[in-house]
Structure formats: structure tokens, C-alpha cells
């Protein structure tokens, strides 16, 4: 058969590799900054963009979508061409993909620093950027499938199965979770509310971990690990079983982020059991990786690429074993809302994603520049700094999480809470310091790598178009010995796409459809009323400043939480919350029932100087809320959007809402005057106080007396 000559496109890979290094360092440094704010609040600088609540989403988005995202594309663009024996489908699309993604990253960072956020973790980006992501993802998809279709290899390799599953699932997750109603260029409200929003969000959040941080990287592992070790993949059967089991089961596990919340119990249980069943499929990937190294362990000692890959795969195994354990209710009762979760995700992020990316970079750059690595010793130093960094990062946080949780749950023998919330925070500050040290060590390692790779680039000469040859695909494919039934689909990428979509659609559908349609899942509470216009403004500020990143709004049915915060949260309380604000971490106390707990003047002083009201607090100051006015022109639009989403404001309320807003704001300002505080009613702090004072109050009016309900009849009840 005639052999065809063609060229692999290395240029796009090169650009993605550069982007990985740049965004990786940026994302990690922002993370370090945010971690320092946990024990040294002055680093927030009293400036909105550098405050923790905004730095943290910048950090998470940068490391997930910029660092790992570019890492995925770098690895896919390199391996896909070689596995398909074909150049990428279109150079133009590659270019659009690369620059489009970088623009999205820049836009994401700027808007997040500006405070434009949807308030849903890892999906914080506002609607114009969501649309841009969708478009770029489609471009990537066309390029991906175009290349697969014009391949010169009869079957598609397991790495590509993972790429296909990644593509289709991320598309589904992104579109479903980003359903939002815009009210301006950079402001929108989630279409879902309360419990439903929480379910969709964590279905997304959990599977962003699965299909953005895991499956594409498993694909990379299946290419780069056997290549670097020059060993055959251990078990083809294991590949098949763990691939399908992984993508099918992963999707179901989202509710384990919502154990003990107001989510219906049956959904929580599904989250738990599917997480447990996920252990084996996850470990299948680890075993197939590690067993591939059989007979090559001597190389692992020598070769930096393999060292990084081995630790990456091991961290993957640890994180995917720990994850299911954290999904058991009795473990989750201890770990959730604490730093345990942060430690857990960083074992995955620093170990699995970080080390895998480093390994791939160490592999690719010398290959594409036709040279050898500048210094193996520096790579060795990086390896040890990285490993020590991970340990130093994770161990103190595990300790901090466990300790704090135990302190939260401690009662005296008289039946009183043993510790004030703040005591439990100040107790673990040394662990926070140790964590930052660990993070810094890890970053030093990454800097060494960048230096090493720059030197490598300097000594080599870049091969932009790498010559290759292969025979074109013939209609008849020769079979080798035993023919496995799975070979059928490996020749049919489109069927692969459809079956993957079916596999990942089932779990989400079974959990979401009943939660949306069956009324008994979210029993309504008659005394729960929509927010007033001023409270809506306050809520927007709460979301903008990322309060939900440190404060939960979910009292779980635990003795200590009910004693500390009040009655546990009910599903019916959140039906007007677009988006939900349950949070996932309690660096500060829960706020679900903070309404009426402190006087307005307390909140006023506290937001200006938290340490004055709670000495030792690590909360930053929010001085700009005392200068900025709320945008009252937007109020009618907000009311309109909320009604559109199902919040029962009366028809025509748009025309009256600002009068109500004025009235409530003036009342609060007047009340503050009695406490010798002079504040103009239109300031943001007034709206925020209104919102905080509303939190958790409605339910208190419910059962006690009917008169309370009568006075609360209007939507401006309080």
C-alpha cells in the first residue's frame, strides 16, 4: 500500500505548553496569596480585587481552566495527531482554539477581579464568557473529531476514548449548569433556585473534577506513560471496563457534596453509593498505569518524566480512594465544611494534575525541540520540592480540618458548646501557615521547571512541522488473532460519542428530573417570602464579594450546628434563591440564620473593621461598601428577572420596587443613627445589612402564631 507523507503540527502544542507554564505560575501565585490571607488578613490590602473572596475564584479558575485546561489541550494536540497518524484537522481552528481559550482566561481573570460572578463555584464566569467557552469548545470538538475521522489508524486508542468522553460530557455539564437569565452585560441570575440549583451545581462541580481534571488526564496518562516507559499497556480489558464504568458511575456522585443538607435523602444516598462504587473504576486507571511500568521500574529511578508520572498516578489513586470515604455520611459529618476537603482536592490538584502536567512538559519540550532535557538534576530537584510541597501542604490541612471539626462538635458536660466559632479558627492558624509554606515550596519547584525548560528550548531547535508517514486507512482491516467485541466501537468515533453521552446522561437525569418535578422533594413553607428589592441588592453584593466562599448558608441537622446557629435548614427556605448560596467551606460561621442575631450597628462596624467586633477574626475589611452606592436603576430589571424565574412578585411591582427600597434603606439608616452611626441610605452596606438581617428569619415566623403571618403578609414583611 502507498505510504503517505504528512507533518504533525507542533506549533499549536508549543503555544499551549507556554500557556500552561505562564498560567500555571500565575494561578499558583494567586493561590499562595489567597492562602496567606487566611492567617494574615492585611494582605487583602483593603482593596476589592485583592480580597480573598475575589482572589479565590481567580485561583481556582486559573489553575483548573487555565493551567490544567491548557495542559489538556497541549497533551491532546500532541498525542491525538500521533495516535491518529494525521495532522490536526485544521490549523486555522487550532489557532482559533488557542487564542480563543487564552482570551477567555484573560476575560475570566479580569471579570472575577472586578466582582462579576454568578456565585456558583467553578462556574463563576458570567454569561458572555460562558457563551465564548461554548463556542471555543465547539471549535475544539470540530478539530478533535475532524482529526479522528481523517485518521490513518483503523481503531481509536483508549486515550482517545477518554478525549471523546471528556468533550461530550464537559459540553453537557457546561450548558446545563450555565443556564442563567442575564439582566445586564455582566450580570445574570441562575435559572435554578435553592435545592435544585445546588443539585445542578454540584452535579457540575463534581463532574468538572471528573471530566476536566480526570478523564482527559487519564487519556494523557495512557499516551505518555507507555511512551515514556516504552512498555505495553498492561491490560486492554481493564481499559475497557474502567473506562465505561468510570464515565457511567462518576456522573451520579455529585450529591455527595450535599450530604446532610436540605437535598432529599434519596439523592444523598445515591451520591454516597455511587461514590463507593467509583473506587474500583478509578483504581482501574491507576493500576493500568502502574502495572504498565512492570519491568521498567529501573527506568523510573532515572527518568524525570516517569518519576513525575508515577507520583501523579499514585496521588490519583490516593485521592480517588479518599473521595469515596469522604462520601460516607459518618466521615462526611466530620470532614465537610472544613479544610479536610481543601487538603483532599490539593492532593489531586498538586499531585495528579500538577505532576502529570510537569511530566508531560518534561517529555514534550525536548522532543519537539529535538534535544535532551537541559538538566536532569534540576528536574530531580523539582521532583523533590514538588513532593515535599504536597506533603507540607496536605498534612497540616488534614490536621486542621479534623481538629476544627472536633472542636465544633465539642460540648461541655453541661450541654453547652465548648468553643466559640472564632476559637476554632484561631486554633488552626499555625496549620494555615504551614500550608502556605508547602504551597510556596511547590511553586519554587515549578519555577525551577520553567527555568529548566527555557534552557532546554534555548539549546534545541524547534521542529514546527514534524515529518511522519503512514499508510492511508483501507476499507478492509486486518485482524490480529483474538478479536475483542469492543473493537467494533473503536472503529466508530461517532458511535463512541453517542454511547458516551448516553452513559453520562443517565445518572444526572435520574437525579435531577424527580428533584425538579416531584413536589414532595421540596416542601414549601408558607412564611417564606421573596426578598425585598433592597435585600436583592444586598444579595448581589454578597455574591459579588464571594462571601459564600467562607460562609455557608446551610445548617445541617447536627446537635452542635443547631445549638450554634439555630434550627436546621429546610428545602423550602431556599425556593427564591437564584443562585443558591449554601457554600462549601466554613472559614467563618454559617450565616443561614444570622438575621436578627446582631444589631444593624454590629454589622456596620463589623464589615468595616471585623476585628473591632470579633477580636482575632481573619475576615477582611470591606471599606468600599461604605463609599459605593447601589445601582437603583437596575432594581426593576432585577424584579423582572426574578419574576421570570418564578419568584412571585406582583405584576407591575417594577414601578413600585424602588419606593420600597428607599423606605427600607431609610429605616435602616435611621436605626443606625440612634447608635451614632451616620450613613446614607443608598450605600451598599445598607443593602448588605438588609440582606444579612433577613437570612433565616422567615421560617421563625411560621408555626408560632398566625398573627405573625398576617403582619408578614406583604412581601416587605420585615
Amino acid at each position: 500500500m502507498q505510504v503517505e507523507q504528512f507533518y504533525y503540527d507542533n506549533k499549536t502544542v508549543k503555544w499551549f505548553a507556554y500557556a500552561v507554564m505562564v498560567w500555571g505560575l500565575v494561578g499558583m501565585l494567586v493561590g499562595l496569596w489567597a492562602s496567606i490571607a487566611m492567617f494574615y488578613p492585611p494582605i487583602n490590602l483593603g482593596f476589592a480585587p485583592t480580597t480573598f473572596g475575589r482572589m479565590r475564584p481567580v485561583h481556582t479558575n486559573a489553575v483548573i481552566f487555565a493551567f490544567v485546561g491548557n495542559g489538556i489541550f497541549m497533551g491532546v494536540y500532541y498525542s491525538l495527531q500521533r495516535l491518529c497518524k494525521s495532522r490536526m484537522f485544521s490549523d486555522a481552528l487550532s489557532k482559533i482554539h488557542f487564542w480563543g481559550w487564552q482570551l477567555i482566561i484573560v476575560a475570566a481573570a479580569l471579570t472575577l477581579w472586578m466582582g462579576n460572578t454568578t456565585g456558583k463555584e467553578y462556574a463563576e464566569l458570567e454569561w458572555p464568557i460562558d457563551i465564548a467557552i461554548t463556542l471555543v469548545w465547539v471549535v475544539f470538538g470540530i478539530n478533535l473529531f475532524g482529526t479522528i475521522i481523517k485518521r490513518r489508524e483503523s481503531h481509536i486508542y483508549v486515550a482517545i476514548w477518554f478525549y471523546i468522553a471528556t468533550w461530550v460530557t464537559v459540553a453537557m455539564l457546561h450548558i446545563v449548569n450555565s443556564m442563567e437569565l442575564p439582566i445586564s452585560f455582566l450580570k445574570s441570575y441562575s435559572m435554578y433556585a435553592g435545592v435544585q440549583d445546588a443539585l445542578v451545581q454540584w452535579w457540575y462541580g463534581h463532574n468538572a473534577v471528573a471530566f476536566f481534571l480526570t478523564t482527559p488526564y487519564l487519556g494523557l496518562m495512557y499516551y505518555f506513560l507507555p511512551k515514556a516507559a516504552n512498555r505495553p499497556v498492561y491490560s486492554y480489558r481493564l481499559s475497557i471496563i474502567h473506562f465505561w464504568a468510570l464515565i457511567f458511575i462518576y456522573i451520579w456522585a455529585g450529591p455527595h457534596h450535599l450530604l446532610y443538607t436540605a437535598l432529599p435523602d434519596w439523592a444523598q444516598s445515591l451520591g454516597t453509593v455511587f461514590s463507593i462504587m467509583l473506587i474500583a473504576p478509578s483504581w482501574g486507571g491507576m493500576l493500568n498505569g502502574l502495572f504498565t511500568l512492570r519491568g521498567a521500574w529501573d527506568k523510573v529511578r532515572e527518568e524525570p518524566v516517569l518519576k513525575f508520572l508515577v507520583v501523579a498516578v499514585t496521588c490519583y489513586g490516593m485521592a480517588t480512594f479518599e473521595g469515596p470515604l469522604l462520601s460516607l455520611k459518618n466521615v462526611n459529618a466530620i470532614s465537610h465544611f472544613t479544610d479536610w476537603t481543601i487538603a483532599h482536592v490539593h492532593v489531586g490538584a498538586l499531585g495528579w494534575n500538577g505532576f502529570m502536567t510537569f511530566g508531560v512538559l518534561y517529555y514534550l519540550i525536548p522532543k519537539m525541540w529535538n534535544t535532551t532535557l537541559y538538566s536532569k538534576r534540576l528536574a530531580g530537584a523539582h521532583f523533590w520540592l514538588g513532593t515535599i510541597g504536597i506533603v507540607l501542604y496536605a498534612v497540616p490541612l488534614y490536621w486542621a480540618g479534623f481538629t476544627q471539626s472536633m472542636m465544633w462538635k465539642s460540648f461541655t458536660e453541661e450541654g453547652q458548646l465548648k468553643f466559640q466559632f472564632l476559637e476554632t479558627v484561631t486554633h488552626i492558624l499555625p496549620m494555615y501557615i504551614a500550608r502556605s509554606v508547602g504551597g510556596a515550596v511547590y511553586i519554587v519547584g515549578a519555577v525551577i521547571m520553567v527555568y529548566n525548560l527555557i534552557k532546554t528550548v534555548g539549546q534545541g531547535s524547534f521542529v514546527a512541522d514534524e515529518a511522519a508517514e503512514a499508510a492511508p486507512l483501507s476499507a478492509h482491516v486486518e485482524l490480529h488473532g483474538h478479536h475483542h467485541w469492543h473493537r467494533w466501537i473503536e472503529k466508530r468515533p461517532m458511535q463512541m460519542l453517542v454511547f458516551s453521552l448516553v452513559a453520562v446522561a443517565i445518572g444526572g437525569a435520574i437525579e435531577m428530573v424527580p428533584t425538579f418535578l416531584v413536589k414532595s422533594n421540596i416542601p414549601t413553607i408558607s412564611s417564606v417570602k421573596p426578598y425585598t428589592p433592597l435585600e436583592l441588592h444586598g444579595r448581589d453584593i454578597y455574591i459579588r464579594e464571594g462571601c459564600y466562599l467562607c460562609h455557608s448558608q446551610m445548617v445541617r441537622p447536627f446537635r452542635d450546628e443547631v445549638a450554634r446557629y439555630g434550627e436546621y435548614s429546610k428545602a423550602g427556605e431556599f425556593i427564591y434563591d437564584h443562585p443558591f448560596q449554601w457554600g462549601s467551606k466554613r472559614t467563618g460561621p454559617d450565616l443561614a440564620r444570622v438575621g436578627g442575631k446582631y444589631p444593624d450597628s454590629w454589622h456596620y462596624n463589623h464589615m468595616l473593621d471585623p476585628q473591632s467586633m470579633s477580636p482575632g477574626s481573619i475576615m477582611p475589611t470591606y471599606s468600599w461598601m461604605y463609599d459605593n452606592d447601589i445601582n437603583a436603576f437596575r432594581t426593576p430589571k432585577m424584579i423582572w428577572a426574578m419574576r421570570k424565574l418564578g419568584v412571585p412578585y406582583e405584576e407591575g411591582y417594577e414601578n413600585k420596587c424602588n419606593a420600597d427600597l428607599q423606605k427600607q434603606a431609610t429605616e435602616i439608616a435611621n436605626g443606625l443613627k440612634a447608635d451614632k452611626i451616620n450613613v446614607k441610605p443608598e450605600k451598599e452596606i445598607v443593602a448588605l445589612i438588609a440582606y444579612l438581617q433577613r437570612l433565616g428569619k422567615d421560617i421563625k415566623a411560621a408555626p408560632k402564631s398566625t398573627t405573625a403571618q398576617v403582619t408578614e403578609a406583604g412581601i416587605l414583611g420585615n
Binding site: 460540648f411 450541654g415 442575631k597
Partner: protein, 383 residues
């Protein structure tokens, strides 16, 4: 020989049971209701079962070996095994006593750190024992092998040794890899057709079984408590424990029985609480800021020791005063109320204007001039 082995095995097993039951019973009943403790005890019990099984296998293997060796008139190794076994028995039994002693001194209402570490260390100890026994078993079996196969052609002495690791993964020797090469070639990557690691596969089945049982228990049989039931159980248990404690303690103070305390031993801890908690709203010296002035004679909610205690205990949430009964014990609240009362007449600088109504000390008649002259007599009524 066999009887000695049997006895040692029995002792071993019994001592493990001892260890487990000592742990299971000591923190009861309070800790046993804690699901974490239950889980840990289950794990410990499960591990103990494995130890027992292993011990049985080991003892049998050892006795066979000993008999073989007796035939060869070399019982030395058998003795060592026995010594090792007895050592293990001693180790476990001593640890059992240590555990029971520790656990007894550690009766706590929730999972205290001590309970946690005790349970964890027992589990780790058991894992250690299992590992040791596996190693012993391996040595017993592996020494046996060449003895029986010694007469066979010793030419294959270089043949690949099949370790337990190879076995549990059902590894095919690398030398025979070509047999299972599937002939796939993706950019030079080949694929083998190795079997699924058996432990992985059965682990997967176990997880699925777990899932079925879990869903069955919680949602079909409804024999396990859901979140809300779990909460109610926890609160009920806590109430019982609290009542039992208060019964015996002097802490049983409420708004009807509270008495003004004046001794420094009572006021000093209250002062500390006041400075850390109350000062945020009432100022360090009680002169008031967000909250009212506590040093004058005017009270919004009554100025008697009983009233102040009540205010502290239940709060006036709508006015911004939270309830402190979940934060401080009745005794602490009594001390705090007494401390607040002791602030009267301290005349701090720049006090907040009086709020509420004038309160006359009950015990003290107005003529006794206990009420200090106030620079302000304005009474602001509250909203």
C-alpha cells in the same frame, strides 16, 4: 505438638476477642451510638476475624511443617515459629489490657480525640499483626516448598519466583508477555491482554454489593436513620446525658434559683468572658456602645439578678441580644449576671445615655443612697 499449636491459636483468638470487646464496651453506651465508633469497631472486628483465620491457617501450616521437620530431626525452625507465635499472642494480649485500661479512663460523651486515636491505633495494630502473620505464613510455606520439590530437577532454580504480589494481581511473567500481546500498535504503544487483577474485580463487586445493601437499609427496609432521625437521636441522647450530669452537679441554676455572687473566684472568670464576648457591644467597661450601658440604674429588661440572668440565658434577639444558653453553662451565666451587676456605679468615662426604666435594688431601700448620683436623668424610651 499439634495440641500446643491449637492452644496457642485459641489463646490468640481469645485475646483478640478480648481486645475488641474491651474497646467496644468501655466507651459504651454513649460512644457506641456514634456511627463513627460503630464503623471503627466493625472494622476492628472484621480485622480480628481475618487475624483469626490467618492464625488458623498459620498454625496448621506450621504444624505440618514442624511434623515434616521432626521427621528430619531438625525441629529448630518449628520452635522459632512457635516462639514467634507465642510472642504475637503476648503482644496482642498485653495490648488488650492496655486498651481496656485506657478506654476505661476515657468515657466521653462524643468521639473524643482519645477514643478516636485508641480505635485507630487498634486498627493499625491489627493491620500490623496481619502483615506479620502473612510474612510468617510466607516463610513457613516457602521453606516448605523447596523441601518437597527438592528431589525434582533443581535446574529450574532460576525460574521466576512467584511472589504474593504477583499472585494477588495474577500477573503473567514478563517473559511470557508475547503470548498476550494483542498486536495493537498506536504510535508504538502496544497493548497486552492481562487478566483483571482479581482483588480489584472482587473489590468492585463488593462495592456494588455495599451500594445495594446501603440503599436497601436506608430506603427500603428503613432500618438505618436518615439525617433528621440521626439528629433527633443525637439530641435525645444528649438531653439524657445532660440531665444525668446536672442531677449530680452544682450547676443546676436557673432564673428562679440564681443568687447574686460577690466572691472574686466567681467574678474573675466572668470578667474574662465579658471582655472577650460582651465587650464587642457593651464596651470593655460596660459603658455601652452598640448595646446599652450596664453601669447605670436603667434597665431595658429588668435589673434584678434574675432578670439579668434571664436576659443572658434567652436573649432579646429582636433587639440584637442573642441567647447565650448554648454557649455558656448555667453556672457561667450566673457568674456573668453577677459580674454585670457588679458593674453598677463604676461610672466609666463617656457612658451611653441611659435606656429603659429605673430599677431600684430590691434588697436596698432607696433611702440607703446606694443609687449613685447620675449626671443624666434622661430616660429614653425604647422603640
Amino acid at each position: 505438638m499439634r495440641t500446643i499449636c491449637r492452644t496457642s491459636f485459641l489463646t490468640l483468638f481469645l485475646s483478640i476477642i478480648c481486645a475488641v470487646s474491651a474497646n467496644a464496651q468501655a466507651p459504651a453506651p454513649s460512644s457506641m451510638s456514634n456511627s463513627f465508633v460503630v464503623l471503627m469497631v466493625t472494622i476492628i472486628g472484621f480485622l480480628a476475624l481475618i487475624i483469626a483465620l490467618l492464625a488458623y491457617v498459620l498454625v496448621n501450616a506450621a504444624s505440618i511443617k514442624v511434623e515434616n521437620e521432626l521427621k528430619e530431626k531438625a525441629a529448630n525452625l518449628g520452635k522459632t515459629t512457635l516462639v514467634l507465635l507465642i510472642g504475637a499472642v503476648l503482644l496482642v494480649s498485653t495490648s488488650a489490657y492496655a486498651q481496656s485500661g485506657e478506654a476505661a479512663s476515657n468515657i466521653s460523651t462524643t468521639v473524643s480525640e482519645a477514643t478516636y486515636y485508641t480505635l485507630a491505633s487498634v486498627a493499625v495494630l491489627e493491620l500490623g499483626i496481619i502483615l506479620t502473620m502473612l510474612l510468617m505464613l510466607r516463610s513457613v510455606i516457602s521453606v516448605n516448598k523447596p523441601a518437597t520439590a527438592a528431589d525434582a530437577d533443581a535446574v529450574v532454580s532460576k525460574a521466576p519466583t512467584v511472589s504474593w504480589w504477583d499472585k494477588i494481581n495474577s500477573f503473567k511473567p514478563i517473559q511470557q508477555e508475547a503470548d498476550i500481546d494483542l498486536g495493537h500498535n498506536y504510535d508504538g504503544i502496544r497493548e497486552l491482554d492481562n487478566r483483571l487483577p482479581p482483588w480489584w474485580l472482587y473489590g468492585f463487586y463488593c462495592c456494588i454489593l455495599f451500594a445495594v445493601i446501603y440503599l436497601w437499609r436506608f430506603h427500603v427496609a428503613e432500618s438505618a436513620p436518615l439525617s433528621k432521625e440521626e439528629y433527633e437521636i443525637a439530641v435525645a441522647d444528649a438531653e439524657v446525658a445532660k440531665a444525668a450530669y446536672l442531677e449530680k452537679s452544682a450547676n443546676n441554676v436557673d432564673e428562679n434559683t440564681v443568687k447574686l455572687l460577690t466572691d472574686e473566684a466567681s467574678l474573675a472568670p466572668a470578667r474574662k468572658i465579658f471582655e472577650t464576648t460582651c465587650a464587642a457591644c457593651h464596651n470593655k467597661n460596660g459603658s455601652g456602645s452598640v448595646g446599652p450601658n450596664l453601669t447605670d440604674d436603667y434597665w431595658l429588661h429588668g435589673g434584678s439578678i434574675q432578670d439579668v440572668f434571664k436576659t443572658l440565658k434567652y436573649g432579646w434577639p429582636e433587639k440584637g441580644m442573642k441567647s447565650w444558653k448554648d454557649d455558656y453553662s448555667p453556672m457561667q451565666l450566673a457568674q456573668l449576671a453577677s459580674f454585670v451587676k457588679s458593674l453598677r456605679g463604676t461610672n466609666p468615662p463617656s457612658p451611653k445615655a441611659p435606656q429603659g426604666v429605673l430599677y431600684q435594688e430590691a434588697g436596698v431601700k432607696p433611702d440607703s443612697a446606694a443609687a449613685p448620683k447620675k449626671d443624666s436623668t434622661v430616660v429614653t424610651s425604647t422603640k
